[in-house]
């Protein structure tokens, strides 16, 4: 144990030294940000395991697991469904269908609790344990399909951004006329502490990812495709480099820094371009997709498999045995935790996603969704934050902010209720990465203010438009 500790310490020290000596300088990165302890060692060496669904298990599949309009249920209570069968149809362009994750019987179509604690529409399936595929699903050779057909398949498979943002992928792949895209960037950064799902995916199934990237390249008609991976995943970098050889895909190791995987920061690190304020990646010629999304695209096109399962890391101090799991959408968090040996000690907080940007889950009973990149359980002692103090103007938040705005000033204005002042201070450019809150010595929940400010400003804009 002690030897281990000494080793870790010295490793940390060497890293620190390197950063100070600028040895890390050759690696590309962005400006601002910080270095939270990455805590990936709990799960980074664990191969992906399947979290099983037994007969009689209930899967709660929400109809809104993506950004955009919720899908509409197309099954009823009592219907028999097969694995991969559509149970919710999309409404509008920015929406995706929802599929049954396993075969069984629909026992309810009703509002159920989601992660945030709201009741939203969901289809509840009681598994029959047979896990029988829908026979209508079929794959195709992507080289024989037109880009539009490929996109249709992606839409039909219900694929959304799997890094956690859950924006429908077919929309991202459909830039409006006149926008020229010349860069496809694959996000394999996984800069959130604890999470190792993408890391494992790249190590274990590099071909899936590469094939997916080739399909995405074909759809967008771009020459350049780059995979950005943070330097703390040397095995993944090596594996991907091997898999990409001769395929016209470049692997770009990136400096270890949070939030390296934020879309705008990743684009800057890889290409040196800045997404214009208020704009989208396509405004500077880039499309960013998560590596998990690429693998899902490949499965959808070649094998016709919809997005019904994903890889997620279960970790944190209150998990008996942290693991990387292949989970079925709709499984309750408690099932995953049970598969990982259950809760260890006093449970303080459940987080869905990463510790920096993830969302606190209200209970262990809520189901996982397409955006669940991880489930983190923290013990009681770890979640207690020192009481909030006054801002001491240390400037930490200003230096850490990768959007180059001034968190403390904005929070100050929000305290006084001045939303328009906050808007003038560019609060809309906040990417909600949480760096400022993390680094604040006064424990001020800065990000909370910005979320409030942003929704207030959006509401104002909507109002103005109506008038």
């Amino acid at each position: 144990m002690q030897v281990q500790q000494v080793k870790e310490r010295s490793k940390a020290f060497v890293n620190l030294f390197r950063q100070h000596k600028g040895m890390n300088m050759e690696l590309k990165t962005f400006k601002g940000g910080l270095h939270p302890p990455d805590n990936k060692r709990w799960s980074e060496k664990k191969a992906i395991e399947v979290c099983p669904v037994a007969e009689g298990d209930e899967l709660v599949i929400h109809l809104s697991q993506h950004i955009g309009a919720p899908a509409e249920a197309c099954v009823q209570k009592g219907d028999k469904v097969l694995k991969g069968q559509v149970i919710g149809t999309p409404k509008g362009f920015v929406s995706v269908p929802i599929h049954a994750s396993t075969s069984g019987e629909v026992i309810a179509v009703e509002p159920r609790l989601d992660t945030a604690g709201n009741k939203t529409m969901a289809v509840v399936i009681k598994a029959d344990g047979k896990d029988e595929w829908d026979p209508n699903l079929s794959g195709a050779d992507p080289d024989k399909l037109m880009p539009q057909e490929l996109k249709d398949r992606i839409l039909a498979a219900g694929i959304v951004g799997m890094g956690g943002a859950t924006f429908p992928t077919h929309v991202k792949l459909s830039p409006p006329e006149g926008k020229k895209i010349d860069y496809l960037i694959l996000n394999g950064v996984e800069c959130e502490p604890y999470l190792t799902a993408d890391d494992r995916l790249m190590q274990e199934k590099p071909e899936e990812v590469v094939e997916g990237i080739l399909i995405l390249k074909r759809i967008l008609g771009v020459e350049k495709a780059v995979i950005g991976i943070e330097a703390n995943k040397p095995t993944a970098i090596e594996t991907m480099q091997k898999a990409c050889e001769g395929k016209g895909i470049e692997v770009c190791p990136l400096q270890l820094k949070y939030p390296q995987g934020a879309e705008k920061q990743l684009i800057y690190a890889v290409t040196g371009r800045e997404v214009p304020s208020g704009g989208l990646p396509m405004d500077c010629g880039c499309v960013v997709q998560n590596v998990g999304t690429a693998a899902a695209v490949n499965a959808a096109v070649r094998r016709g498999i919809p997005l019904i399962e994903r890889i997620a890391t279960v970790s944190g101090s209150a998990v008996a045995e942290p693991k990387n799991l292949l989970i079925k959408i709709g499984q309750p968090i408690s099932k995953l935790v049970e598969f990982c040996g259950g809760v260890k000690g006093e449970l303080g907080k459940i987080i869905q996603g990463g510790p920096m940007m993830g969302m606190a889950a209200v209970s262990m009973d809520v189901p996982v969704t397409r955006g669940t990149s991880g489930i983190l359980l923290f013990s009681e002692g770890e979640v207690i934050r020192a009481p909030e103090g006054p801002c001491v103007r240390c400037g930490n938040c200003v230096r850490a902010c990768p959007a180059f705005i001034m968190p403390t000033e904005i929070a100050f204005q929000m305290r006084r209720g001045k939303v328009d002042e906050a808007e003038k201070l560019n609060v809309m450019d906040c990417i909600e990465c949480g760096s400022c809150t993390y680094i604040c010595p006064a424990q001020i929940p800065l990000l909370q203010f910005f979320r409030q400010a942003k929704s207030a400003i959006r509401a104002n804009i909507a109002k103005r438009k109506k008038v």
Partner: protein, 310 residues
Amino acid sequence: MWEVIGALCPCCLLWILSFGVQASCLTILFCVLGCVLAEAGWELIRKQPITVRDGSAVMTGILLALNVPPNAAWWMALLGGFVAIIIGKQVFGGLGCNPFNPALVGRTVLLISFPVQMTTWVMPRTHEITSATPLSAVKMAVGLHGNITPEVQAQLSGVFYGGLGGQLGVLSALALIAGGCWLIYRKIITWHIPASFIGSAFVLSSIFWLVDSSKYPSPLFHMVTGGLMLGAFFMATDWVTSPLTPKGMVVFGIGCGVLTVLIRLFGGYPEGVAFSILLMNSATPIIDRLTMPRKFGAMPKKFGLVTKKG
């Protein structure tokens, strides 16, 4: 805050050893006591939570103590502490709201109210009373004779080894630099303010010295005398009263350095560190405004694309 206090320890220790254990310990004690009592008292009266445990009052007390002569009367130390906390901090709304560095407010009020006592320092080690600090010796000599007289010059050479009233010379400067570097290493302060403060003071004083070394003391002399190191590492870097952005910090530091040298050479007082920091404190809000970072994605556009280097 406690870490900053820790970083001040080597300097305090040196201070205590040189100026006599009893006198300097009492001064430090009364300054800290004054600050802590004032903070707790004020918060008690206003029914606010008592924030003594955050260490900021203690820190103010220690910084104040390092700014008053060790042989000062105990009531002066106590009063200084009160003024620093009440007028320097609490009237503005407590921690985080004060525009000026509280310790410097305390010191300045004392200096103006008791000019004689505040400039009467004891000799380190021998503990004899002397009325002139090296800076005021220079000032007087230049004032009376138009240049630095040979006697003063001879005295000055002793400065480096801590031979003159109120000064611990190189040793204390080293202790302060060590403490400051620790703070930078621990990321409590950044290098911007100390570097630009000391750098600009050095450059400006070098220029004057090169122009006329009979009238102006050498830059090294400036470096080790007065409160320059203390000011640059521990007082100008006070989070609350310095700018937020690195760019702003550099502007702030340069302002402090230049003003310090100008006040020392041409101002009415022999020492300028405290005044220059206070002056720059008052400029902090405007510096913050003017050095607001350019938000991400607001680069000049080129061919519809925004690129890093041209």
